[in-house]
């Protein structure tokens, strides 16, 4: 199955998308396009099959963010650069249940890593952050995401991946 990953387009079929999680389905169906093109809140990338270029098999949404230097606890500030910390947020990622187990999630996160490398080279990006569902944490951990301590016991777990680790991964293929 040849899969293409590209930016979400207005005519993409998102209505039948079902990843088994209502908020993720709802986001793709109702908010992703508006947030991308009108509000500029996040950019969504979709996986589509070469044979059916409009049917969305999976997606992820990313956005840039930063943490102001003064927001960090004082005892850590000295070890940090004298600027706000730029980061890329992997805000959402979901694969349609009918296409689960075909490597689409891997293809999507691979594209997100490639974008993070490009962004870090073009405008600066120190790490990738995601808020993972607790039952999906091990999947993110497989790619090297580390849980950020201090989150509430319930709800999503914020996870961290150093951009230097992603760069090292790129070098280790050589």
């Amino acid at each position: 199955m040849a899969v293409i990953i590209r930016r979400l387009e207005e005519s993409d079929e998102t209505g039948n998308f079902d990843c088994g999680d209502a908020p993720l389905n709802n986001y793709l169906n109702k908010h992703a396009w508006v947030n991308q093109e009108k509000s500029s809140i996040g950019v969504t990338y979709v996986a589509v099959e070469e044979a059916a270029l409009r049917r969305v098999l999976g997606y992820f949404t990313i956005a840039m963010s930063s943490v102001p230097r003064e927001a960090f606890p004082k005892k850590y500030v000295r070890g940090l650069p004298s600027y706000d910390l730029p980061l890329m947020l992997l805000a959402r990622l979901g694969v349609d249940l009918r296409f689960a187990g075909k490597g689409i999630g891997h293809a999507l996160i691979s594209e997100a890593f490639r974008i993070s490398l490009r962004v870090s080279g073009e405008v600066g990006c120190r790490c990738v952050i995601t808020d993972a569902y607790r039952d999906r944490m091990s999947w993110y951990a497989r790619y090297g995401f580390i849980p950020i301590e201090g989150a509430a016991a319930e709800g999503p777990q914020r996870m961290f991946l150093d951009i230097r680790t992603i760069r090292k991964a790129l070098q280790s293929q050589l």
Partner: protein, 132 residues
């Protein structure tokens, strides 16, 4: 009676000078340029450069507006042009910015992770992800 302009006085209708442009090309680039000129039926380097500048200028203006440049096959398959120099003029690499809420302990944990001298080594899955 006609008034003659003084010798050093600039005339209003002075001709604008054309700028000379010279480039050193590697043999492969020279071959590519000649082949392109032939394909595009351009006779001179001047015409070639004028058209190339027009095309580059258009592409840069599109990326400045945040527009993507796409090629589409008759079957509808699309490819987005990603050209590093053009991405320099694109606004914020086309990624919007958002605010994230952090707790104090999350920020302490993030600071520790960010200030570590050595990053975590990549996992096998990550290496595969950036290689695929």
């Amino acid at each position: 009676m006609a008034i003659k302009p003084k010798r050093n006085q600039p005339t209003t209708a002075r001709r604008t000078r054309n700028t000379k442009f010279q480039a050193d090309l590697a043999p492969a680039e020279d071959r590519a340029l000649r082949a392109l000129k032939e394909d595009l039926q351009l006779r001179s380097n001047t015409d070639f450069l004028a058209d190339a500048v027009a095309l580059f200028r258009w592409a840069a203006s599109e990326r400045k507006l945040g527009h993507r440049i796409i090629s589409e096959t008759p079957g509808g398959e699309r490819k987005v042009l990603v050209f590093p120099r053009l991405e320099r003029v694109a606004p914020e690499a086309n990624l919007p910015r958002i605010e994230i809420a952090w707790t104090k302990s999350e920020l302490a944990s993030l600071a520790e992770l960010v200030s570590s001298a050595e990053p975590q080594p990549p996992t096998e899955a990550l290496v595969r992800a950036v290689r695929d």
